[in-house]
């Protein structure tokens, strides 16, 4: 089946700033395609290039044609920082934007879908930040598009509202809508995207399924042991200088004497990080063994958390944007009880 979105060797500069540097990708029908990357990575420019709202070098094909020539009834866009008329209500905004298409979805059903039925007749300027963003998402959906571009759709939306939108996007994709989504929430991308492209400095650093990216770039699951204060000891974690790009806290923390050896005997590597002692490559059923090592060495701890690597680890690994915290715990919200924090 033909790809819905095809981009080949896209390049774009703003003065001396290179916003896109040879980006190529394709998006299949019904796919949810995630774009992640640091601020200024080129995500929004890429969305603009794919929707034909900014000229770029290279080739873009949207629904088989040039994006500026495509049937506009078939595409939906939520621009980043979109702000519609402030003194129209969500119902009026949906009626307005729906009126620009030959056929549009009933505003009431869109309002229900985005969770704004109760605020349908409140002026946009009087809505909360999250409600505003949901109204904007509704505007992007009102023509029931075949391809939907959402540039940071859940910014400012509370967790419940965010999950509602995730379910909505899931439903759209299940119904055949192709979705291109940018976000700074790794949880959101990991939850929604079939494939993910990681951009930095206008370049495509990685593109694959979230699971494959995590497997390739994020390492194994681990146990993080947080103790009160900085443990005393002379033994360095793994013989290397403390990691952390100069972070002072990382340099202060060292492993208690004998812990590295005891962990090695149990089959684990352990290192000291600013957030605690990190036991690498620990399967869920091996957590007890880690506890045994700690008990054997008489180490008291405040908390012990088992964490699976996530997309955030991939992001930090590939962008080098680690905030001085090597392997900081991912912000992925646990969806499985086994991923929860153990205390």
């Amino acid at each position: 089946m033909n790809d819905v979105v095809v981009a080949e060797d896209l390049r774009k500069t703003y003065g001396d700033v290179c916003a896109l540097d040879g980006v190529s990708l394709s998006v299949a029908p019904g796919e949810v395609f995630g774009l992640i990357g640091p601020n200024g990575a080129g995500k929004t420019t890429l969305v603009r290039a794919l929707t034909g709202t900014t000229p770029v070098e290279g080739t873009v094909r949207l629904l088989g044609g040039a994006p500026t020539a495509v049937d506009r009834d078939r595409i939906g866009l939520l621009p980043q920082s979109f702000a519609p008329a402030s003194r129209l209500t969500p119902r009026e905004l949906l009626t307005h934007y729906g009126g620009l298409y030959d056929e549009a979805t009933d505003p009431a059903s869109v309002l229900e879908a985005v969770g704004l039925a109760d605020a349908a007749d409140t002026w946009y300027e009087k809505l909360s930040g999250g409600q505003r963003r949901r109204a904007c998402v509704g505007v992007a959906l009102v023509n029931d598009p075949d391809v939907l571009f959402l540039d940071e759709p859940t910014t400012g939306i509370d967790p419940a509202g965010r999950r509602r939108l995730w379910d909505l996007i899931d439903g759209l994709a299940a119904g055949g809508t192709t979705v291109v989504l940018t976000s700074h929430s790794m949880a959101e991308i990991e939850r929604l995207a079939d494939r993910v492209a990681l951009l930095a400095d206008g370049r495509l650093l990685a593109l694959d399924r979230p699971g494959a990216l995590i497997e390739t770039h994020a390492g194994e699951s681990r146990v993080v042991v947080a103790t009160a204060g900085t443990p005393e000891g002379s033994e360095a974690g793994d013989g290397r200088p403390p990691t952390g790009d100069g972070n002072a806290a990382a340099g202060d923390r060292t492993l208690p004497e004998g812990l590295a050896a005891a962990a090695a005997d149990a089959g684990f590597d352990v290192e000291a990080t600013p957030e605690g002692f990190v036991f690498e490559d620990v399967a869920a059923e091996e957590i007890g063994s880690v506890v045994d090592v700690l008990v054997d060495r008489g180490i008291e701890y405040d908390s012990l958390a088992w964490r699976q690597p996530g997309l955030e680890d991939v992001y930090l690994e590939l962008t080098g944007d680690s905030f001085g915290m090597h392997r900081a715990g991912p912000s992925v919200e646990p969806t499985d009880p086994e991923e929860g924090e153990l205390r």
């Binding site: 900014t54 519609p84 008329a85 307005h96 009126g99 620009l100 505007v139």
Partner: protein, 256 residues
């Protein structure tokens, strides 16, 4: 049908958005009232004394109308373009079937209604509180196309300013800087002999002069239309308005 639906939708949204900005509504209608009260009633005219207001009161009716036809669409459309840019609305609209010229046409229609009502208020006030008389005959209906053409022209110019300026403040400053010379270097308030000879060709070619001559011929002195006559002045103004609208539509940005 689709185009009519899009225009109706854009018009309705723009109209509601305008009506709900109460300060804007108040001053849109208050502004011409100030003009008429100050220049028509308080200052008065001295037909035999020379100076700025040396003509009979009816001579200045085109000037009052020109004020609202010139200033209001320039600043309103320019500001609307700036608001759309700041809210990334053009980026959104670029992915809808609405064309840029359709957007500008819808905004122009809103301005025609707003300024049409303002012009009625202004003419009513002029008749009520100044010595000028406003003819109530079928020929006066020709004022309507003059107002429509004038509004369309300055909506287009306002869109150009909105496309060039980087903020709403910039648009307001630019529209004032453009409107004042256009108004006072035209035949809206002045007679040609009041300006230096080298400036008179520009004064004669000014679209505001075309507007003023036509309106003056309809409300004050039929001979005021000059060699073009009323139809000629209207046709010339309409042609300039068409150019202005095209320039405005082209200058509306798709993104930032």
């Amino acid at each position: 049908m689709s185009r009519r639906r899009r225009l109706a939708s854009e018009f309705t949204a723009a109209w509601k958005a305008f009506l709900r900005r109460r300060t804007a509504v108040f001053f849109t209608f208050f502004f011409p009232a100030i003009i008429v009260v100050i220049f028509g009633a308080l200052v008065g005219t001295r037909p035999t004394g020379g100076g700025l207001f040396a003509q009979p009161p009816g001579y200045y009716v085109p000037g009052y109308l020109a004020v609202v036809v010139l200033f209001t669409p320039l600043s309103r459309v320019g500001s609307e373009v700036a608001r759309h840019r700041e809210g990334r609305r053009f980026e959104k609209l670029a992915t809808t079937p609405l064309r840029r010229w359709e957007w500008l046409l819808a905004q122009t229609l809103v301005n025609v209604v707003v300024i049409g009502l303002t012009a009625l208020l202004l003419l009513g006030l002029t008749a009520a509180i100044t010595p000028a008389t406003i003819p109530l005959d079928p020929a006066a209906l020709l004022l309507v196309p003059f107002v429509v053409a004038g509004v369309a022209l300055f909506c287009g110019v306002g869109a150009v300013l909105g496309g060039l300026a980087d903020s709403q403040d910039g648009v307001i400053a630019a529209s004032n800087a453009l409107a004042f010379p256009l108004l006072f270097l035209s035949e809206a308030f002045l007679t040609p002999d009041m300006l230096p000879a080298w400036l008179r060709p520009a004064m004669a070619a000014s679209p505001v002069s075309l507007f003023a001559r036509g309106v003056r011929a309809l409300t004050f002195d039929p001979a005021a239309a000059g060699p073009l006559g009323v139809p000629g002045a209207l046709a010339a103004l309409a042609a300039v308005a068409a150019v202005g609208l095209v320039a405005g539509a082209v200058s509306i940005p798709r993104t930032d």
